[in-house]
Amino acid sequence: MLRYKLGKKGQVGETVSWVVATIIIVAILLIFIWISVLMAKVKTVGIGDVQTDSGTKVDLFAQKTAMANQLDNNQNKEMIDNILKENG
C-alpha cells in the first residue's frame, strides 16, 4: 500500500515537470511570434536606406539649393535656409 502511494507521488511530480516544460515551450513560441509581429511592422524601406555607389547618402534638394546659391553668390542665404527649414 505504501509502495503504491509512493509510486503515485512520483508520477504526480513527473507530470508537473512535463506540464511546466510544455508551458515554457509555448511561452517561448509566443515570445518569438510576438517578435516576428514587431519585425513585420517595421518592414519599411525608407529614403534613409538609399545610398550611392560610394556609400554616402545624398540629399538632392540640399544639392539643388547649394548649386543655386553658388550661381549668384546669394546674399539672402540665411533667410532662405530658414524658410527651407520651416518647410521641411
Binding site: S36, A40, V45, I47, T65, A68, L71, I83
Partner: protein
C-alpha cells in the same frame, strides 16, 4: 503499466511537435505575409523627378513656369510622369507644386497640382501613428533661380496611397 505510459508520452511528444511546428508556421506567415512598404521611396523618387523637371543645375525650367494656365496633366507629360495604372481603378498619386518668388512669399508665382486630390486630406492624419499607413506624404522644398537671377522657393508635396500593396490592412 509502462507501455501505457510510453503511449501517453509519445502522444505528448507529437502534440509538442505540432505546437512547435504551428508556432514556426505562425512566425513565418506573420513576417512574410506582411508586404514591404516602399511608398516613402516611391514618393521621394517622384519628388526628385519633379524637382529635376522644374529646376536643373540651380536654374528654373522657364518653359514650365511661364505657362500659368498649365493643367496637371500637361505638367505630368512635360515631366515624363504618368499617374495612370492598370492595377488601380482610381489614381493612387497626388502632387502639388508651388513656386514662390522670394519677394512675394504669400502668393505662389506658379502653382500646379495633379492626381487624385482625395489623398491630400490623409497627410494631416499621418501625425497619428495608427493612421500613418493610409498614405505616404513627402514634402520638400528648395531654392532656385530663373534666367534673370530672380530668387524662388519651390515647394513640392507628393502623396502616394497604394495601401493595399504596401501595408497589411
Amino acid at each position: 503499466m509502462d507501455k501505457r505510459g510510453d503511449k501517453i508520452l509519445s502522444v505528448y511528444w507529437f502534440a509538442v511537435i505540432i505546437i512547435v511546428a504551428g508556432g514556426i508556421f505562425g512566425m513565418v506567415y506573420v513576417y512574410y505575409g506582411t508586404p514591404y512598404d516602399v511608398r516613402e521611396i516611391e514618393a521621394n523618387v517622384m519628388t526628385n523627378q519633379i524637382a529635376d523637371c522644374i529646376s536643373y543645375a540651380g536654374r528654373i525650367n522657364a518653359n514650365i513656369i511661364s505657362n500659368q494656365q498649365e493643367s496637371g496633366t500637361d505638367f505630368l507629360k512635360q515631366c515624363h510622369l504618368s499617374f495612370d495604372s492598370t492595377d488601380w481603378t482610381d489614381e493612387q498619386y497626388y502632387t502639388e507644386i508651388n513656386v514662390y518668388n522670394l519677394n512675394y512669399l504669400n502668393n505662389a508665382t506658379f502653382s500646379v497640382n495633379a492626381g487624385n486630390n482625395n489623398w491630400i486630406s490623409f497627410c494631416a492624419l499621418q501625425q497619428n501613428s495608427s493612421q500613418e499607413r493610409l498614405t505616404q506624404c513627402v514634402k520638400k522644398s528648395f531654392y532656385s533661380l530663373d534666367n534673370s537671377n530672380n530668387q524662388y522657393i519651390i515647394k513640392i508635396l507628393t502623396v502616394v496611397r497604394k495601401s493595399e500593396k504596401n501595408v497589411k490592412i
